[in-house]
């Protein structure tokens, strides 16, 4: 096994560029998944079966099929339908949609954990439905689920390399490009492997601190 430090330093400029793209995907993808997940969770509480059944079926389907194939689907099929987006935008949307099917279950659990007395109090105060949700239920539900949502952000971080398959140059994409140009595979791949471990470890420490803070 021969390790070449000069290859590591040659790779570093590409690495920072890739890291920036990875973090960009992570932030935008998380935002999409938080919003869409909440939309799914609220739609699933609709009294009509004509709403809950399709939403339930679609999210179940998206959750149980590989993100990679969903990426290919969106990347190759949307242009056929006349919708052309950049690879990065398609990837961000796909990863956000995929994880929204997970966050929806987190929100559902959070909403169900709000005590029934809160609902009854809102009814007793004659609050309109919109205000019951926005001022009573959601603030309590979301607060409970922040740590669980954070876990999915960390899981999403580890799925961002898949965007390489649709030509997005994030960390792994840069590492692959660099290895093919310089014919050195060991160093760039190890560097990004370590980077992933470090980032997800730091993120989980931050999450634990946040969890402690919210508990009070």
């Amino acid at each position: 096994m021969n390790w070449d430090w000069s290859a590591v330093s040659d790779f570093m400029p590409d690495f920072w560029e890739g890291l920036l793209v990875t973090l960009q995907i992570l932030v935008l993808g998380s935002l999409i998944s938080f919003v869409l997940g909440l939309v799914w969770a609220l739609l699933m509480r609709s009294p009509s079966r004509w709403v809950t059944w399709p939403v339930g079926a679609v999210t179940e389907f998206v959750r149980n099929t590989p993100l990679l194939v969903q990426l290919f689907f969106l990347y190759y099929v949307l242009p056929e339908w006349g919708l052309t987006f950049s690879a990065l935008a398609t990837g961000v949307f796909a990863i956000g949609l995929h994880y929204s099917t997970y966050t929806m279950q987190v929100y559902r659990a959070g909403i169900e954990a709000v005590p029934a007395g809160q609902w009854e109090a809102a009814t007793a105060l004659n609050l309109p439905l919109r205000r019951t949700w926005s001022a009573v239920i959601l603030p309590q539900a979301v607060r409970r689920v922040v740590p669980a949502l954070g876990n999915y952000v960390i899981a999403m971080l580890k799925d961002t390399p898949m965007l390489m398959a649709i030509s997005v140059l994030e960390m792994l994409g840069h590492a692959r490009l660099f290895s093919q140009e310089h014919f050195q595979f060991t160093e760039p791949l190890t560097v990004i492997g370590v980077a992933f471990i470090v980032i997800s470890y730091l993120a989980s420490l931050a999450l634990r601190a946040l969890e402690r803070r919210l508990a009070h």
């Binding site: 590989p66 993100l67 099929v77 999915y152 792994l172 999450l207």
Partner: protein, 233 residues
């Protein structure tokens, strides 16, 4: 689609299933060994098992696959058959997630059960085999079922390395027909059907194992919770 292309897709299904079976067996073995090691009485064993979990859970499965395909061969001088390389990368990664499930279920067994074993002067191995595992294993089935679905989704990653699995056959058909909506829809449906069958099998297994220790399976109407990648504790 012509019958030749369908044959290609069927071959892809077969590769995906082979990879799924091999890597889930490896992942199960790793989960139990590492998970049990994390409850060991020697701190060094616990520490090493914890380190393994953190490292393999911390990195991305796809990066792991790249590493096994590109870094292992020159570094150690041996090259793996693609199927075994994929099995190794997926099994080690998902085994790290599984070890958390095993550890959690072992810790959730009533401590009085373990103390009872000590009082009857069972050896640690007997306690594990006769008291802890029979009670812990049925509780592991629902989270393992979710992990198995995640593993199925993970097998699609090997197509990036050029292994002819289901996702790869989808790409080939797209190139052959210059048309993507139809084939990718089929591929997604096949994955969904496999996932659906797996959840059914795991549910049956849970029922059987829980009946063995006199418990009822979890409420069926509740949707399964997704795999939660828990923060380090």
């Amino acid at each position: 689609m012509t019958s030749g292309l369908w044959e290609l897709v069927l071959k892809g299904v077969w590769v995906t299933i082979q990879l799924l079976v091999c890597s889930s067996l490896l992942a199960a073995a790793v989960s139990f060994v590492v998970g049990v090691a994390r409850t060991h009485r020697l701190w060094i064993v616990r520490f090493l098992a914890g380190l393994y979990t953190e490292v393999f859970r911390g990195t991305s499965a796809l990066v792991m696959i790249f590493w096994v395909f590109f870094v292992l061969p020159p570094a150690f001088g041996w090259q793996l058959v693609p199927l075994w390389a994929g099995t190794l990368a997926l099994g080690l990664t998902y085994g790290a997630y599984g070890s958390e499930i095993v550890r959690g279920a072992l810790n959730a067994v009533d401590p009085a059960q373990k103390e009872g074993g000590i009082a009857l002067s069972f050896t640690p191995w007997q306690r594990m085999k006769l008291i802890l595992l029979p009670q812990a294993v049925p509780e592991m089935i629902p989270p393992f079922s979710n992990l198995l679905i995640e593993l199925l989704k993970g097998t699609a990653l090997v197509s990036i390395m050029g292994m002819g699995d289901l996702a790869f056959s989808g790409n080939l058909v797209r190139l052959a027909l210059q048309e993507s909506a139809e084939i990718y829809t089929y591929i997604l449906i096949v994955y969904f059907v496999i996932a659906f069958l797996l959840t059914r099998v795991m549910r049956g297994l849970e029922k059987k194992l829980k009946a063995g220790v006199g418990k009822k399976p979890a409420d069926k109407t509740r949707a399964p919770e997704p795999v939660v990648v828990e923060a380090v504790r």
